[in-house]
Symmetry: C2
Subunit: 344 residues, 2 copies
């Protein structure tokens, strides 16, 4: 029911995703009167889906607390998340209200053991391929331990998604020197150097321009800065696309050149297409939830569903849990050996 | 002496700026052996300049405290700033070490009355023209009053630079609703609504993608976020330029199209040229200091000098002082009238 276009686009996106990955099965939640007519147009999707009617839908402008109060247990959003909790579904995907989705996901799935706060991870296209950036807006601020948790979770995601053995992780900062940045970032950097994490290589600090260059596989930051960086990059890409369109339609020669180079422009558009990397992954909860852009079209929804399929296949959640367990076991062993050496 | 290329590029940039604005006069500080040979190649610049030899230069990797300790009074950087303090120069321009320049500028010029902390303002190219964004890295964090100070200083800069009567000002946030963001941002937003500032129109919150769209004339944020946003945008622009180059050289047709549309591509390159908007303006000190990109070439240095010329001509510093005085007079009048109404 969520997103700017509702079932019209969400159902069409699911049909597209099913064509590409025919082993996917869908459980759809929504208002029958809105979903059924669209679903009828896609007989293959209909055959691969179970549909559950829900009277109540969270609106895009509901406050998280309000959505939780009114929509708990009964809204299509809640029931989608709950299907992950009960094990009926592997991943929950929604194009709805981000704040409400995060509030419900936290309430329903709870955070993983040893994780204080969840993060939203975005896939960032770079000159070298793709990176993972987190947190892009789950919560404001993060202390050193939370930044370390994000590093571990982002690292696990990079291993499952990109098939890397030891992804590189950088902390987003305003300079690469050790003296730069807030206390929390410097402390996290110090700890990451001292105690290597399972399955990642800590690179050090990275700056804003390293994001697009793909300097590291995983960029870690707190949610406010991550959200501003993500939207600034999206805005800059749109701005340059507008410059390019204006330049290419200005003279006859430019228009002729555009026609000749059309396949190159199509390729460029494809590279810059934000729909191709649609989907913010909620990490740190007992279950994976993916948030699609509210403005996504069917192609964008399908991209978020492709991502969900990959996450489920590769067992992202289990990998994160294993990393966390091994890290905290080692930390407590070290603490034990320290206290032993203190006790005479 | 500063920047990645030293006097070679700084002097050549000054010569370029002089051609464009022949009424400019330069006072140059640096090591004679490095500066003199370059200056000799530009007789017109030489005639329009006074040169002062300095034994000591701040290095690009000196820590601010170290630069201040070793270079105070005698370094070329210090003496450049001091020329503004004594009134010999209207504006100081340097391509050197940013941290050292800010530390020396604060120490030498001191902050303006009623201003606690300086900010660095950047000029941001947008779809509508240009905006001013501050702080892009002078200090980390800002309380509500400091964000209000930044709004006033940015507003004064937009009036002098863009010739606007009442520039619009927005606070950078992760959503436009009043409940979003850190306490300091929400508090600043509340205060800006309650007590209108002289010479600006407060717009409300803006998000990262509003930067490139030019939603407001002045975007206000604290230095960490501002720096990340600025570098993310620069990195994204470079990334897309690389995509475009790759796409246009891939096939014969694309290359032929590129040749036909060359003037359009040149126009686009011009639009995206970071050298055209080179120069971070230090605001809130008793004197204007402009920091050029360390990697700037002669064209970039000339852009920073053009900006310096405009700032001096339009009396930016006096405008900021007048705004601050009028704001604080009103604030204390209001406080007085409140205490009168309390005293029976």
């Amino acid at each position: 029911m969520g997103g700017d276009h509702g079932p019209e686009v969400v159902v069409a996106g699911a049909a597209l995703a099913l064509e590409r990955r025919p082993d996917t099965r869908f459980i759809l939640y929504g208002e029958q009167a809105a979903v059924e007519p669209v679903l009828e147009r896609f007989p293959q999707l209909r055959a691969a889906s179970t549909f559950h009617h829900c009277d109540f839908s969270v609106r895009m402008d509901d406050k998280p607390s309000q959505a939780l109060r009114q929509g708990r247990y009964k809204s299509s959003m809640w029931r989608t998340i709950d299907a992950v909790k009960t094990g009926e579904a592997d991943v929950a995907v929604s194009a709805g209200n981000t704040g409400a989705l995060m509030a419900m996901a936290k309430f329903c799935l709870r955070t993983m053991a040893n994780i204080e706060r969840p993060a939203i991870a975005a896939i960032w296209p770079t000159l070298k391929g793709e990176s993972i950036v987190l947190d892009v807006g789950a919560t404001i601020g993060a202390d050193a331990q939370q930044l370390i948790d994000f590093s571990m979770m982002g690292g696990a995601m990079a291993r499952t998604l990109f098939g890397l053995e030891r992804p590189t992780v950088g902390l987003l900062n305003i300079g690469v020197e050790e003296v730069k940045g807030q206390d929390e970032i410097r402390e996290a950097g110090r700890l990451l150097k001292e105690t290597p994490l399972p399955g990642i290589d800590y690179h050090g600090f990275v700056e804003g321009d390293d994001l697009g260059q793909g300097t590291v596989d995983v960029v870690v930051t707190e949610g406010f800065t991550g959200n501003i960086a993500l939207k600034t990059a999206e805005g800059t890409a749109r701005q340059i696309a507008a410059y390019l369109r204006a330049a290419m339609s200005r003279t006859w020669l430019a228009r002729a050149g555009y026609v000749l180079a059309k396949s190159a422009f199509d390729r460029l558009r494809d590279k810059m297409d934000p729909r191709k990397v649609n989907g913010g992954v909620f990490l740190g909860l007992n279950g994976i939830v993916i948030k699609s852009h509210g403005g996504a079209d069917a192609e964008g929804i399908a991209a978020a569903l492709d991502l969900a399929h990959t996450m489920a296949r590769t067992g992202l959640r289990e990998k994160i849990e294993a990393d966390l367990a091994s890290y905290h076991r080692r930390i407590s062993e070290e603490a034990a050996s320290v206290s032993e050496s203190i006790v005479p």
